[in-house]
Assembly symmetry: C2
Homo-oligomer: 329 residues x 2
DNA sequence: CTATAAATTGCACTCGTGTGCAATACAATA
DNA sequence: TATTGTATTGCACACGAGTGCAATTTATAG
């Protein structure tokens, strides 16, 4: 591996001291304009750029932010991640990718990643891992949770899933549904728990018993099989709230395939997240929008505040989801 | 910002020299077992871990790999990125996220990112940017292109899109189609160009003229509107090859909506990429699988080879796509 | 032309860590 | 016990860059 060009090389080539090179790259530093030009020319020629790693050592700070994601490979999360990456880039931060294969590995991987002096860690994981929080606290690395259910000791930006579930139930009821089923996701996920809670609470408000409650895993196939089960029974629901869009689409597919219920007249279906596909004509899915832009913006804001004032008390920002009315309910 | 715990702190607390701390963390270094234990205990207590940045300075290498992506937000790319991240993590590399908003910004962003001494850069971009290659060459940073059309001066792993398109045409012809349309993607994209070329070549082989050729942008909405246009004309095609799955799904939706053509009997549709949604019952899309695992594996292999032997001649690995037969053709 | 102020430059130290080398402590052998 | 060999340890330097301070050059005023 050929050696990287250093400031020393530039200094020799340009006939100046190494400090001069450093100053040439420092805005506002005192260097004679011609000298700076000459140095920058030489640097350009040799393909030099200051080593961010050496610089950060002395400046005592980096622009690195660990971006930690768990094992979940659902579509919404991918979009979310993509937008988050973009937002961080806008803020002048460099994301250090920490990708755990299973949720249990998250804290381990993050631990390794923290060998790099990151400014903060942004974590998006389905299940909460207390170890992560402790780890970051001990290393004094600010931690921002992206997703539901804040944990003491970390900032968090979370979608108000309970509110979203209430919105869904309200809408179904308003549509005239009375036999409402809930098709949940993986119960280990925090988002699932709060969506489920919101569902039960809302139903209680209306004095209704859930028609059925099924567990699932947030995937289309799961929504499909659960949908088949629900819709081939003797008594079928007239409304289904699904814990995410993929599952809802599975239900819609099942409805088409194994029943001749008309959607939304005889069967109303509502999803959660509002992934781009929900708008596709074949689904035309009414859903609860989990606002990516608002959320990533809030993450960026929280990050900035936290870095500006490390002593600030814990921050917890709730993002309110909203109904997106389409053809399925 | 509270100062990070350093080896010096540990050394004082444990009553040893700083070198001892360093050695305690270096496998195979000469330290008395009890001393090491004591040091590691203190380190554990104080939440210390060696600063990767300082270490990399002296070791003259990092585990960082720049992962560069352009503006394209299509579903396949997101899955691809996710799997690539996972693979890199497996290889013990840390991805440095470089996310450009527009393709033109890629080289600029990468340039900034190269202030970090990365081992290599992995680039996935729709359009090829010669600047990127020059930049990496000058900085002597190995560059691996992920995607079609290698550029001189960089390694590349690419899907044989021409072959994929041929496969699609073969299949359509075998199904009895003779009036075959091509629904392309953004013509600035390299993958589009080779898929298109493959399509034309294959058609020529069979002595057929394309029934129609439409430009698009790889999105569902585009496939839908182009589909409507194609299928509401006086004369309609009996087979459509789409440049990616999303567009193909748009076509299928259009077929359902504005025609009563039976798929696949009267209209066969083939996509490209094989995103997970292609398997969903509502689409059941026959498509050309663009193998993510093979590709990311090849990227990892190429990376390893390149790092082991920087002097090796340019590598170009072709990944052969294969047909996935489902219900749409 | 000289005196003074301002701009430019280089020296030397610093950041946190790894490591060769020499010094020391300990164990094994005679 | 004396001697040799081996395991530990600390010192000092290195990595690449930023910066205070003092030395030097240049510009400005008198």
């Amino acid at each position: 591996m050929t050696r990287r060009i250093t400031a020393k090389d530039i200094a020799m080539q340009a006939g100046v001291s190494r400090s001069a090179v450093s100053r040439a790259f420092t805005k506002g530093a005192s260097v004679k304009p011609e000298t700076r030009t000459r140095i920058l020319d030489v640097a350009e020629n040799l393909g030099y750029r200051p080593n961010a790693i050496a610089r950060s050592l002395i400046k005592q700070e980096t622009d690195l932010v660990a971006v930690v994601t768990g094992s979940e490979d659902n579509i919404y999360d991918m979009y979310f991640f993509d937008r988050l990456a973009l937002r961080l880039q806008h803020e002048g931060k460099w994301g250090l990718l920490v990708r755990a294969e299973r949720d249990e590995d998250i804290s381990k991987k993050l631990g390794e990643a923290l060998m790099y002096p990151v400014q903060a860690a942004i974590v998006r994981a389905g299940t909460v891992n207390t170890t992560i929080v402790e780890q970051c606290q001990r290393l004094k690395v600010p931690l921002i949770f992206t997703g539901p259910c804040p944990v003491a000791g970390a900032d968090s930006v979370w979608c108000d899933n309970e509110e979203g579930a209430r919105l869904a139930v309200d809408t179904l009821i308003q549509r005239g549904c009375r036999k409402i089923a809930y098709l949940g996701g993986d119960i280990r996920m925090l988002s699932e728990n709060s969506r489920r809670k919101g569902f039960f609470d809302a139903m209680k408000t209306f004095g209704l018993e859930p028609f059925a409650v099924l567990d699932g895993d947030f995937y289309h196939a799961d929504g499909y099989s659960n949908g088949v089960q629900l819709l081939t029974a003797r008594d079928v629901p007239d409304g289904i709230f699904c814990a995410n869009d993929a599952a809802a689409m599975g239900v819609l597919d099942a409805a088409k395939q194994v029943s001749n219920l008309r959607v939304p007249e005889q069967l109303a279906v509502i999803g959660f997240d509002n992934i781009p596909m929900a708008a596709w004509p074949s689904f035309d899915l009414t859903t609860i929008d989990n606002p990516i832009d608002l959320t990533t913006q809030a993450v960026a804001d929280t990050l900035k505040k936290r870095l500006d004032a490390p002593g600030l008390p814990e921050m917890s920002v709730a993002i309110t989801p909203k109904l997106v009315l389409r053809g399925s309910a």
